[in-house]
């Protein structure tokens, strides 16, 4: 594994543009979105909760987290993505920037993968094309492509024996199976994936342990924790699929700000239980280093997000459309995520 920053453009990127050009797609220039974050919905869950630690609120030690990162016990990296939607009369294109940022001894190394897909419900259109995709519901199919591209990037470029902080839940929506598969593959490379969930209505703890006392797990954690603390670890056992079992904790990096859930697959926990305190301290340190209470994120994830957005901003979508000979057309209701 080398340590150079990369911008990887998917193999079919240019070919797809040619095909779109040949198919005379009518894009709507005014409807191209700005780079936005992509949120996979959280999993409400259906199963049991077990408390793994005695304390309800455990102090985190950012100094130890700093030392853990500095001493390079494990490389830490962050993943986030950003997307642009480009609607057309004949369908919709999504351009994704998947961003993996590795914090090595001296600097942040970004590796960004750019992918473009076009989805249509016109069978006539796909008959003349190998890359334009048929989709009854573009929002569903595009998510599958999204998680595939994300997996490709992480499996190919994440460093062996590192920790990856991934923005979004481990389990959620139509991508749970792919996410679980990705998790498995990462574990095989000795990588520890930790998922970071900022917003959710999840009520697994509340429903199982504090019925009626709180509206959600986030409310419970907010009221239980002081700044710089995390809750006990909780073990979730899914009623239907063992694959969906997970371990999670809530941390509160700043006062008066909603806590954040950190979650790991059950297998990850079993393999790396002894390192978790170091990892949580490090994550707390990275929250402090970022220091943005209006958008709490570990620093490395925030930087990954910034790179993803920057790459999309740097790509002149208008230019691509015009160069491809595609003609913008009248206003069109956006087919959004």
């Amino acid at each position: 594994m080398d340590y150079y920053s990369k911008l990887i453009i998917s193999n079919d990127f240019n070919k797809l543009i040619v095909e779109l050009q040949n198919s005379h797609i009518n894009f709507n220039k005014d409807e191209i979105s700005l780079p936005i974050s992509f949120n996979v919905s959280d999993y409400d869950g259906n199963g049991n909760i077990k408390v793994l630690e005695n304390e309800n609120a455990i102090n985190l030690v950012p100094e130890l987290g700093y030392e853990y990162i500095r001493d390079g016990n494990r490389l830490i990296s962050g993943y986030d993505e950003s997307l642009i939607s480009i609607p057309a009369l004949e369908g919709i294109a999504f351009m994704f920037a998947h961003s993996l940022v590795i914090l090595n001894a001296e600097k942040y190394i970004p590796i960004v993968k750019l992918s473009l897909n076009f989805y249509t419900r016109s069978r006539a259109l796909i008959s003349n094309s190998t890359l334009i995709k048929y989709a009854e519901d573009a929002s569903v199919d595009s998510k599958k492509d999204y998680v595939r591209d994300k997996s490709d990037l992480l499996i190919n470029f994440a460093h062996h024996d590192s920790i990856i902080l991934i923005d979004g839940p481990l389990i959620g929506g139509q991508v749970s199976d792919s996410n679980i598969d990705l998790n498995r593959k990462l574990l095989k490379k000795g990588i520890i994936p930790v998922y970071i969930v900022k917003n959710s209505n999840s009520s697994l703890i509340v429903d199982n342990l504090y019925n009626g006392q709180y509206n959600s797990d986030f409310e419970f954690a907010f009221k239980t924790l002081k700044k710089g603390q995390r809750t006990s670890l909780y073990h979730y056992q899914d009623m239907y699929s063992k694959d969906k079992n997970k371990i999670f904790t809530y941390i509160k990096p700043y006062s008066n700000v909603s806590p954040i859930r950190l979650e790991l697959h059950e297998t990850t926990y079993k393999l790396y239980e002894s390192e978790l305190n170091n990892i949580f301290d490090s994550i707390y340190y990275l929250f402090l280093a970022q220091g943005n209470s209006s958008n709490p994120q570990p620093r490395i994830v925030a930087i990954a997000e910034a790179y993803a957005r920057e790459v999309l901003r740097a790509i002149d979508v208008n230019d691509i459309i015009f160069k491809s000979g595609l003609i913008p057309t009248m206003n069109y209701t956006r087919f959004g995520w």
């Binding site: 700093y66 500095r70 600097k107 942040y108 402090l288 280093a289 220091g291 943005n292 620093r299």
Partner: protein
């Protein structure tokens, strides 16, 4: 190594590559952007450090260290285009595309953008915050630029506080003029007016310094310390300068004989009078010179004229002879008479001095010779103003008549002492005429002063080059850059024929420099 990002408000924006980020490129630096076979030379207008990633103060609050990665800084630069190489012949300029690499320009490239590659070598310099320094190429060699010789004849203004390097620069330019000037079949002659201390009095001596940086500068110029071979100091009357370092054998007493004095030249001494009063005293003197001097027992000396002025029997009523030949009577105001008498009494010690010669144009107009008129002695300025006007007239006449083809550089330090204020602007109008016609006659003038505010507005109109050393202006509010941060020898320049250069450093002169 920098990377272009695009254009912003007419300036090219560049950022340093994180992997090659040694430091901040200061204001005034030159950079070269390469795009295949094409090059662009840019000059840095603004340069700041920015953090690659903003860092949270929360860590400081908790006394926790930041990550090394978060301490990375970059250099953001805004630069203006100076030249495209090779130039296009279709009337267009090429785009400077984003994501092109840029580096510091080298000497060869700086030479290329110069329209005139010969001239007076000075160092290109730059500034960041309070630090001014000589520009270096990527191999740490200082970058030189040549001021075109023609600049001498387009007149120059130099300002700067004591210790700013203003005088050293004038010495450097003088030495170049008498040793190296190539234009007008040079070398030329220099006439410098020394008004304070002994600044110009030992230009015949080698400069003495042990400072490594100065020796290195001389080495970069291929020079070593040496004085000017042909050197002469002229001092008024019996007031030989008191300088210890001066060679007394090269000092010569000069005077003006009152009987030869052009009445118009008196304007120098009476510059504090209202214009009308100044005109009258010139006409009174003219009458005295034509009709009284040497007649019926009257003498030929300035003291005789003072006695004439002071005669109570005249009751302050004097005959005047105008330049047109009209004669009439005029009554001087008592206060005017008094201040006139004082001025003449003070200056009279320098007139009609026995064993002293009058200065001739030919004394000055000698190739490779530097002449210094020393007016640093007490009360010498008033006489100096008359003398200066006298000698400048002679030089101007000699050159106008085609009697001399020797190029000459006149250096007038503390010029406001001679030029007076705007009301007495007429006082040295010869200088004005010289400055305006200098180009065709081969006469260059350097006007120097401590403050920009001291410079009469008339001068600003005749000079084409301005060189500002530290402290050039205390009152100018809208300074382009903080001139207080200029180190000795560093100057902001607006030099004729060198418009793209904003900051230079003068090398120290090879002669006439000693550690005070």
């Amino acid at each position: 190594m920098l990377v272009t990002l695009g254009e912003e408000d007419g300036k090219i924006k560049l950022i340093s590559k994180e992997s090659d980020n040694d430091g901040i490129l200061p204001y005034g630096s030159f950079i070269t952007v390469e795009d295949g076979n094409r090059k662009f030379i840019l000059r840095v207008e603004d340069s700041i450090q920015i953090n690659s990633f903003s860092i949270s103060p929360m860590l400081a609050d908790m006394d926790i260290k930041p990550l090394l990665q978060d301490q990375k800084v970059r250099n953001l630069v805004l630069a203006v285009r100076i030249k495209e190489i090779p130039p296009r012949d279709d009337g267009l300029n090429s785009y400077i595309k984003p994501m092109l690499f840029a580096r510091r320009s080298n000497q060869e490239e700086i030479d290329y953008i110069m329209t005139n590659q010969t001239g007076i070598p000075v160092f290109l310099s730059s500034m960041y915050a309070y630090d001014s320094q000589v520009l270096k190429d990527e191999n740490k060699r200082p970058i030189l630029v040549n001021i075109p010789e023609k600049f001498f004849f387009y007149q120059t203004l130099i300002t700067g506080a004591t210790g700013s390097g203003k005088t050293a620069a004038m010495k450097y330019l003088s030495q170049y003029f008498v040793e190296k000037l190539d234009t007008l079949n040079g070398p030329g002659a220099v006439l410098a007016i020394n008004v304070k201390e002994d600044d110009f009095l030992y230009m015949d001596k080698s400069s003495k310094t042990n400072k490594e940086e100065i020796l290195k500068e001389w080495e970069a110029l291929g020079e070593s310390s040496h004085g000017i071979d042909s050197f002469r100091i002229y001092y008024p009357g019996n007031n030989i300068p008191l300088s210890k370092n001066m060679d007394k054998n090269k000092a010569k007493s000069i005077t003006i004989k009152t009987k030869n004095l052009d009445p118009e030249n008196l304007s120098g001494i009476i510059q504090n009078l209202p214009a009308k009063g100044a005109e009258q005293i010139i006409d009174i003197f003219r009458y005295w010179q034509a009709n009284v001097m040497g007649k019926r027992g009257e003498g030929y000396k300035m003291s005789d004229f003072i006695r004439y002025l002071d005669d109570p029997a005249k009751n302050r009523i004097y005959k005047v002879l105008t330049a047109n030949g009209d004669i009439y009577e005029y009554t001087l105001h008592a206060a005017t008479l008094n201040s006139l008498k004082n001025a003449f009494v003070t200056a009279s010690q320098f007139f009609d001095v026995e064993n002293a010669d009058e200065l001739k144009a030919s004394d000055i107009l000698e190739r490779r010779k530097m002449s210094v008129i020393d007016l640093s002695q007490k009360n010498a300025i008033g006489f100096g103003a008359i003398l200066l006007r006298d000698i400048l007239n002679k030089i101007y006449e000699e050159k106008s008549n085609g009697n001399s083809n020797v190029p000459i550089l006149v250096i007038i330090d503390e010029v406001h002492e001679f030029y007076g204020n705007s009301k007495t602007y007429e006082a040295l109008k010869t200088l004005d005429a010289i400055a305006r016609k200098g180009r065709s006659l081969g006469i260059g003038v350097i006007f120097a002063s401590q403050n920009l505010e001291d410079i009469p507005s008339g001068i600003s109109k005749v000079v084409n080059s301005k060189i500002f050393f530290k402290g050039y202006s205390e009152r100018e509010k809208r300074k382009i850059i903080n001139d207080d941060a200029l180190g000795p020898g560093y100057a902001i320049s607006r030099i004729y024929g060198l418009s793209f250069v904003k900051m230079i450093k003068f090398p120290l002169p090879f002669g006439g420099l000693y550690e005070k």
